[in-house]
């Protein structure tokens, strides 16, 4: 199904043995056999279990909490509420902005609850059943308060205020303005306007969160096992929260069953469980229930957007104006206010945009916090620009792909500086678009669509072209350091240990990093063991998120390997009697120039450890560490084309074929890249078609179980046809870009564009996500009534053929 990219056998201009190969993942056997260990699989001697009492109200004053009955249950060891929390900090927010309001965010609710699922009390017992039973006996006396759910109402004068100290529900405002916006809008031939919602999503990692903490008072050592994407950052924050020196804290991440950004965070439970373990002197475990995962793990997206695009008749884009209301939820988690700013940064998409104004308001509501969810701000940006481009193309009577091509920068214009101040590293947008055009049979799809319309068949063709921001990122542009660490150690037996700070949660770094280093050292990937997720073993690192694992973490390991290679060459030169620069590292063999003298890799490594014959000043051992600071982000891109058929009578959508041509620079393992794209497309389709986390007017979660929250499922997905173009990144020596989020970013607008395209002869202009059949049916009915198209058309008989021009 998928094709090989052109990267095979080539990396950075060198021939390679392992890089570019579809190597099976080293991680898979243990995961598939179920013999691996997630946090909840671990059992420590004497371990206690923690359960939480969570608020059933979205907004209420707490009058009293009665815990006596729970304390009296045999097996209950401790019950705590806010008043018991002494010597413990708050949930951190890493963001700093001039007018940012950061609410006090304690580890248990203090006097007030602000979202359904907010933790109010914790129960610790000998077993989890007792803990949960006892939690049900805790009575909380609440006075319900007016609930703030709707962002527009939240900023109205008469709204209830969620954090009274702030006297407003506006958490921050952020404005970015460049170019002469007023002028271009005044002189534009046409201004295309659309309001678009980007609905709230739940990340739903297959493994919910889990935390175990054990404190050994004699050693003054706190060990915390947590399902996290950021073990080192979490260690720092835990040490701050519980008041231990950071040197006394160790964080271990066993297998992590997915994160999608939801575990790029520091949660209440990651503070209170360690604190309880310290108070009780016994290990304490908390494992999140799926229900808790829906209510109390961060959500993604949730923005209301008003978009205006100024264009010339010939299809030249002049300017973009966007107003965004971004739902923060009730408190800030680690990066909550950052996410909509990433939307602002990427709002120009792959286009030359002379003028931009974007105004963002972050709004508090009585909901769970939003934060980074696969794509984190970029899917929102891509959705807005790609939807408005499609609507504009229709209004201008241009083919949507031709309209895009007209506004792309040319390859020779790279590095390309955008209106938002970013420097896009490298791209050939035209090439990916052309390839997607070919693979999808674009012209044939358009012909079939025309015939279909005549026969009452609503075929649609969707196009989206995207660019995204990866390899996050230069430290200057990130809240807590954008570098990554890598240590490579050749052990005395010649086996190689790699320590990476980019702790993965499903990305396959144990395989790709091994491929990368095996090529550099001329050994087999099976001889390279990649260790991650233990702060006692691995130098300080940042983590895996923002499609940075390979481009930043992989580069750190690559650079450490270069240091080691220099050392190997020095020693080999000494032993073989040649200059270091005359030594080459071949496959399993170290060769002196001319090829007459050589030694095996094992002999050389042994010599470094035995150290009887080393050059003066040569440090024995073979270990090197590199902290890689990227000079820029990377900017992967691509074009996606899909075809759909919409049932005009029921609003049901049939997804037919999905073509994705992505460019993530050089590729280490094409199979893993394809897997990332498959999963990404599925997740992006999930947003377009099915997923929405709904709070009703009372702030109750309507879609708080997997029976209500519709995840994308394999049998619902169409065929994926993938290909790649390869434009190496100049931002790192391997030329890689990152691919973890690309599919999600490209696919959401592609699907919505296709469905709106299918219904365009009926006068349907825009439908908000998810494209539930009822919404589609309503859009058809509304278009009929507005356009006075006879009902027979919607029933699939004789569609009108006029182009619909509205807006502006």
């Amino acid at each position: 199904m998928a094709r090989n990219g052109k990267a095979n056998g080539k990396n950075n201009g060198k021939s390679s043995v392992w890089v570019g190969k579809k190597l099976k993942r080293k991680e898979d056997p243990r995961l598939i056999k179920g013999i691996s260990h997630y946090t909840d699989d671990l059992k420590l001697a004497g371990m206690l279990y923690c359960a939480f009492v969570r608020s059933p109200h979205a907004h209420a004053k707490i009058n009293a909490i009665r815990t006596d009955a729970a304390r009296a249950v045999p097996g209950v060891v401790k019950v705590v509420t806010y008043d018991d929390l002494t010597g413990v900090g708050v949930v951190p927010c890493a963001m700093q902005m001039p007018d940012l309001k950061i609410p006090h965010h304690p580890l248990l609710a203090h006097g007030r609850v602000r979202y359904v699922g907010e933790s109010v009390a914790a129960v610790v017992a000998d077993d989890i059943y007792t803990a949960r039973d006892a939690a049900e006996l805790i009575e909380v006396d609440y006075d319900p308060l007016p609930v703030v759910v709707n962002m527009e109402k939240a900023i109205a004068k008469d709204s209830a205020i969620i954090h009274e100290d702030f006297k407003t529900n506006v958490a921050f405002t952020h404005v970015m303005k460049n170019g002469d916006v007023e002028k271009v809008f005044a002189k534009a031939d046409r201004v295309v306007k659309q309001r678009m919602l980007n609905q709230r999503l739940a990340p739903v990692a297959m493994e919910p969160r889990a935390v175990i903490a054990e404190y050994l008072p004699g050693e003054n050592r706190l060990t915390v096992w947590s399902s996290t994407q950021i073990p080192h950052l979490l260690r720092t924050q835990i040490s701050v929260m519980v008041g231990l020196p950071e040197t006394a804290v160790r964080v271990v991440t066993p297998e992590v069953g997915g994160g999608f950004g939801s575990k790029l965070n520091v949660y209440r439970e990651e503070g209170i469980v360690p604190w309880l373990a310290m108070k009780l002197g016994k290990p304490v475990k908390w494992a999140e229930l799926r229900r808790e995962n829906f209510l109390a793990t961060i959500h993604g997206r949730d923005t209301i957007n008003d978009v205006e695009l100024a264009v010339k008749k010939d299809g030249t884009i002049l300017g973009l104006r966007v107003n965004v209301l971004a739902d923060m939820g009730a408190y800030h988690q680690l990066l909550t206010p950052l996410i909509p700013q990433l939307t602002a940064l990427m709002i120009a998409g792959c286009y030359k945009l002379p003028a931009l104004e974007i105004n963002i308001k972050g709004i508090f509501t009585n909901k769970m916090s939003t934060d980074a969810y696969r794509g984190a701000g970029r899917p929102e940006a891509t959705y807005l620009i790609e939807r408005i481009m499609d609507i504009a193309a229709r209004e201008l009577g241009m083919d949507s792909l031709q309209f895009r091509l007209k506004n792309f920068p040319q390859p020779k214009e790279f590095p390309f500086t955008t209106i938002t101040g970013l420097r896009y590293d490298s791209a050939k947008y035209q090439e990916a678009a052309k390839r997607a055009l070919q693979l999808s049979g674009y012209d044939a799809l358009r012909r079939r669509q025309k015939t279909g319309w005549k026969n009452g068949k609503y075929y649609g063709v969707g196009v989206s072209t995207y660019v995204e921001i990866c390899a996050i990122g230069p430290s200057a542009a990130t809240p807590a350091g954008g570098w990554e660490s890598g240590t490579v150690r050749i052990e005395p037996t010649g086996k190689v240990t790699v320590l990476t700070g980019a702790s993965p949660h499903g990305q396959g770094e144990e395989t790709t990093f091994a491929q990368l280093i095996a090529d550099e050292l001329g050994i087999d990937p099976d001889d390279v063991n990649v260790i991650h997720g233990d702060t006692l073993a691995v130098p300080y690192g940042i983590g895996t998120f923002g499609s940075r694992g390979t481009a930043v973490g992989g580069t750190a390991a690559f650079m450490a390997t270069q240091k080691l290679k220099a050392k190997l060459k020095t020693l080999a030169g000494h032993l073989l009697g040649v200059k270091p620069q005359d030594v080459t590292i071949g496959r399993g063999k170290i060769l002196a120039k001319g090829g007459k003298k050589s030694m095996s890799f094992g002999e050389l490594v042994g010599a470094a450890y035995v150290a009887r014959n080393i050059p003066p000043g040569f440090e024995p051992g073979l270990e090197a560490t590199h902290f890689f600071e990227p000079s820029n982000f990377t900017f992967p891109f691509g074009t996606h084309v899909c075809s759909v058929e919409v049932d005009g009578e029921t609003g049901e959508i049939k997804l037919e074929r999905y073509v994705a041509v992505d460019d993530c620079g050089n590729v280490i393992n094409p199979m893993i890249v394809e897997g990332q794209i498959h999963g990404g497309i599925a997740q992006g389709m999930g947003q377009a078609m099915w997923e929405e986390f709904v709070y009703n007017d009372d702030g109750q979660a309507v879609t708080g179980t997997l029976m209500d929250y519709a995840m994308p499922k394999a049998h619902l997905l169409p065929e994926f046809i993938l290909d790649r173009t390869v434009t190496p990144s100049p931002s790192n020596p391997m030329g890689v870009k990152g691919v973890g989020e690309a599919g999600t970013i490209g696919s959401t607008p592609c699907i919505v564009n296709a469905v709106c395209d299918a219904l365009s002869p009926l006068g349907v202009r825009h439908i908000d996500m998810p494209l539930k059949p009822e919404r589609v049916w309503n859009a058809i009915r509304q278009a009929q009534s507005q356009e006075k198209i006879p009902a027979a058309v919607a029933a699939g008989k004789k569609p009108a053929h006029k182009a619909v021009r509205r807006g502006a």
């Binding site: 039973d133 029921t650 099915w690 499922k713 619902l716 539930k772 059949p773 009822e774």
Partner: protein
């Protein structure tokens, strides 16, 4: 799963199970566990005793029984869906079973458990109504046969008495008729947003007999009697008109996924399409 405390019994035969049920007023019967256990997981149900009848092997069968095909109450949806006997003699039940939930649900869930649960969006109710199936309920005092049309009494409630266990479902042979099951799946739960089971006999373009069962639309699955009455004895070309009466007098259910208005609309479309499909299969 961290449910509230409960006791558990695993009787070896039906009479033991019935005795236990008789003796424990609030006990719940556990069959495949695909309705009860999710409710217990969320602590929406906390029965003091579960009587697990899953090990009573004698209740798992599909066999000919006079004019009927008899399906044991513990037969899984997957077994019903793949039964050659049903496909050749009474395929409607198998067609409905094939569209229940997902593979895991079909491998564990049972026909007796599904009918006893009487979920308003379950698939079997539409099929057993259209088939005029008979549901056999057994208690310590003996068996009684409940016609499907008298079985469902409301949302999650049936004519089943507290001390009874469903033991068998009997469906007629329909080899001379066309059948169809058309369903719009809820994308999360897999339940029917609308499920329509049709059984139809026609000759020379005229409809001799027709039965239409509808599930998912209201609090209880029902027979679309007006549709049937309009169509019976008429030409198959009357199907669109007949289908437009599929929700006459029905109070539609609405939820986050589909409003009552949309469900009622969808039901009419699905009834028409199911009628057309049934007519085309024979």
């Amino acid at each position: 799963m961290i449910p509230a405390n409960f006791d558990y019994e695993s009787p070896r035969n039906l009479s033991e199970a019935l005795s236990l049920l008789d003796a424990h007023e609030d006990a719940k019967i556990l069959a495949g566990g695909h309705s009860l256990l999710p409710a217990m997981k969320l602590r929406l149900a906390a029965p003091p005793l579960l009587i697990d009848i899953g090990r009573i092997g004698l209740l798992n069968y599909i066999r000919e029984s006079g004019d009927n095909i008899a399906v044991g109450a513990l037969t899984t949806h997957a077994e019903v869906a793949s039964s050659k006997l049903l496909h050749s003699q009474s395929p409607l039940l198998a067609l409905a079973a094939a569209q229940i939930g997902d593979t895991q649900v079909r491998n564990r869930g049972t026909i007796g458990g599904s009918l006893a649960g009487a979920h308003p969006a379950a698939d079997y109710p539409a099929a057993v109504l259209a088939l005029d199936a008979q549901i056999v309920a057994t208690s310590r005092t003996g068996e009684r046969v409940i016609p499907a049309t008298k079985f469902f009494s409301g949302m999650f409630s049936t004519a089943l008495r507290r001390e009874e266990i469903i033991t068998e479902v009997r469906v007629p042979r329909t080899s001379a008729e066309g059948v169809a099951y058309k369903k719009h799946h809820h994308p999360a739960s897999g339940y029917a947003v609308v499920g329509v089971a049709v059984r139809l006999k026609s000759s020379g373009g005229k409809v001799d007999s027709v039965a239409v069962g509808v599930t998912g639309v209201s609090d209880i699955a029902y027979r679309a009697m007006t549709t049937e009455n309009v169509l019976r004895g008429k030409s198959t070309s009357a199907m669109p008109d007949a289908a437009s009466h599929a929700v006459d007098g029905v109070d539609g259910l609405g939820d986050n996924y589909a409003s009552a208005e949309f469900r009622l609309h969808l039901a009419k479309v699905y009834v028409r399409r199911a009628l057309e499909e049934a007519a085309s299969t024979k």
